[in-house]
Symmetry: C2
Subunit: 323 residues, 2 copies
DNA sequence: TTGTATGCGTTATCAG
DNA sequence: CTGATAACGCATACAA
């Protein structure tokens, strides 16, 4: 920066201003500084800038795994929101482990990130306190709570599960099965699913859990396992990939869908509209979740104190042919 | 840090050492510093550390889009490799635009990242020079070249496309179609596919391109478009999701697979093993690509000068029932 | 509109 | 094994 200043015949600060607040410089000055920057191929050191300004320009996001399209969609949305304001995105994966989340949070706080996006509302003990002490904006996603650490954008997994059960019962299916992972959000959906079924006079639902992250093949296996001990009329899968696996397994077994067994997915991924039969699913706005999370952070960083703290994006059952 | 030093009755440097090189401290000193750190809830400022040490502890990765499982798998692998060495991962998306890639690279160089992982081997002009001047390790992924910017880990997309064509012809299919995006790597696969077909005496292949990022539904549409003007016996899709869409479309049209039309995918995603019929695909080690990229960077950062520069992970045709 | 002085919180170097 | 001192490269308050 000193070299640039010398080359342009100005002082250090002027170079700094040419980069950060160009409109506060005389056009001629600005031009000569920019020319010098180009000529010397000067690349401003953001680390030094961060240290001096105590703003890192970095937002961190923590997801269970990026190799699951629902979370990668959210990260995509978040990245979109941030790129416009020149924030950079630091990414961490927990692999569904609370202690990993805590480790990542510590590491990111050390980096003095300007904001943090978390997945879920359950965290290791101590995390909440550390985040509150850090005094940075935090958004929890993919679920809702009345008492977020700071802000939250998501939907009620419990209500979504309940809605799925009620939808299926409304359609006339009386023997319900649930296929899902055992992470917190799947568990909430299951609880809601059971409650919805109970409310409709169905006291018990079949449950088959699969490891998280789950995949197409787990869906097929789960249906296989269910059919060994029972004869479900409708299967609700906590993720469209599982549901696709169930559809393929139905094809193998020559089960008509929805005639012999109805199939319902979750998340309304692009695949849902492309299957045969097209998949009835619960739409949850994965990408928008990231965008809104980003928007909440940016608003707070801009100083908008009156921004919302809890955004319920809701969900909706998208009816297609499979159920 | 000063507070901690005072509380522990040592100097600043000793606190720094307790954090970075604990084995060079007397056990008693270390213990008292650690106690003070805990007591005061001291969170070391990595930004200041980076500035002083001129090592940021950050690796950046740039992918076309994270919302496509092949790239998110690679990012996953990379993140895995880095987390063990306490490197953090900065993520950027180009959305298949060279100028976005250039912008991101500049931003990341400004952040003084310790290493960079790129997707593909084509970049905007000037990028190569800037990266060489930055003197940081760079890994290009998802393709190979004899002249990488620095290092590369991938496979030959051209050879993979060629192998797909030869495989299909070997199986007796004489009318070939290609469904793929129009990004560089898909283009390379198409070129290879055409070459392979030509070598087997098939001068022309049908081609249907879809927008990137592509999805299941595009696969169905593409098959639809192809069938309007021709009658392909075998379809090679440049991505398993497209292939799954083709399978579903076949189901809709009551085309037997592979009897009426054979379907071949690419990447061997988890879905490939779960479809009905299971999908013949080209396996390309997406996750390992990220892991190896991370390993190459780490080796270089450790100072291993004699590390490899080009890693060909190869590919293999995984034969299943669909072709 | 531009410049001067100061500090951001560490690590590296050297000395003891 | 520990400490004193000088960077690291920039942004901010204040002055001109």
């Amino acid at each position: 920066m000193e070299d640039v200043a010398r080359a342009a015949g100005v002082s250090l600060v002027t170079v700094s201003r040419a980069i950060n607040t160009p409109d506060r410089l005389a056009p001629a000055t600005l031009a000569s500084v920019r020319a010098a920057i180009q000529r010397l191929r000067y690349v401003p050191n953001l680390t030094a800038g961060s240290l001096a300004s105590s703003r890192s320009g970095i937002i961190a996001a923590i997801v269970p795994t990026i190799a699951n399209s629902i979370f990668s969609d959210t990260v995509d949305g978040l990245a979109q929101a941030l790129v416009s304001q020149r924030y950079q995105l630091l990414l961490g994966q927990t692999h569904y482990r609370e202690d990993e989340e805590a480790r990542l949070i510590d590491a990111f706080l050390g980096r003095r990130v300007d904001g943090l996006v978390l997945t879920g509302i359950r965290h290791a003990r101590g995390v909440r306190a550390r985040l509150e002490r850090a005094e940075i904006p935090v958004v929890e996603t993919w679920d809702l709570t009345s008492r977020p650490i700071d802000m939250a954008v998501g939907f009620s997994n419990h209500a979504a599960g309940r809605a799925a059960a009620r939808y299926l019962v409304d359609k006339g299916y009386d023997s319900l099965a649930f296929i899902g992972g055992h992470d917190d959000r799947s568990a909430a959906r299951l609880e809601g699913f059971r409650e919805g079924a109970r409310e409709c006079g169905i006291p018990r639902v079949l449950v088959e859990t699969v490891p998280s992250p789950s995949s197409v093949i787990d869906g097929g296996r789960a249906l296989d396992a269910l059919c060994r001990s029972a004869r479900p009329r409708a299967v609700f899968c906590t993720n469209d990939m599982l549901a696709a696996g169930v559809l393929f397994e139905c094809q193998r077994r020559r089960f008509a869908v929805p005639g012999r067994v109805a199939v319902m997915g979750f998340a309304d991924l692009p695949i849902a509209a492309g299957t045969e039969p097209p998949l009835t699913s619960v739409q949850v706005h994965s990408t928008e979740m990231g965008e809104r999370a980003g928007a909440l952070l940016l608003a707070r960083l801009r100083g908008d104190a009156d921004a919302e703290r809890i955004v319920d994006l809701g969900f909706s059952v998208v009816e297609r042919a499979s159920a």
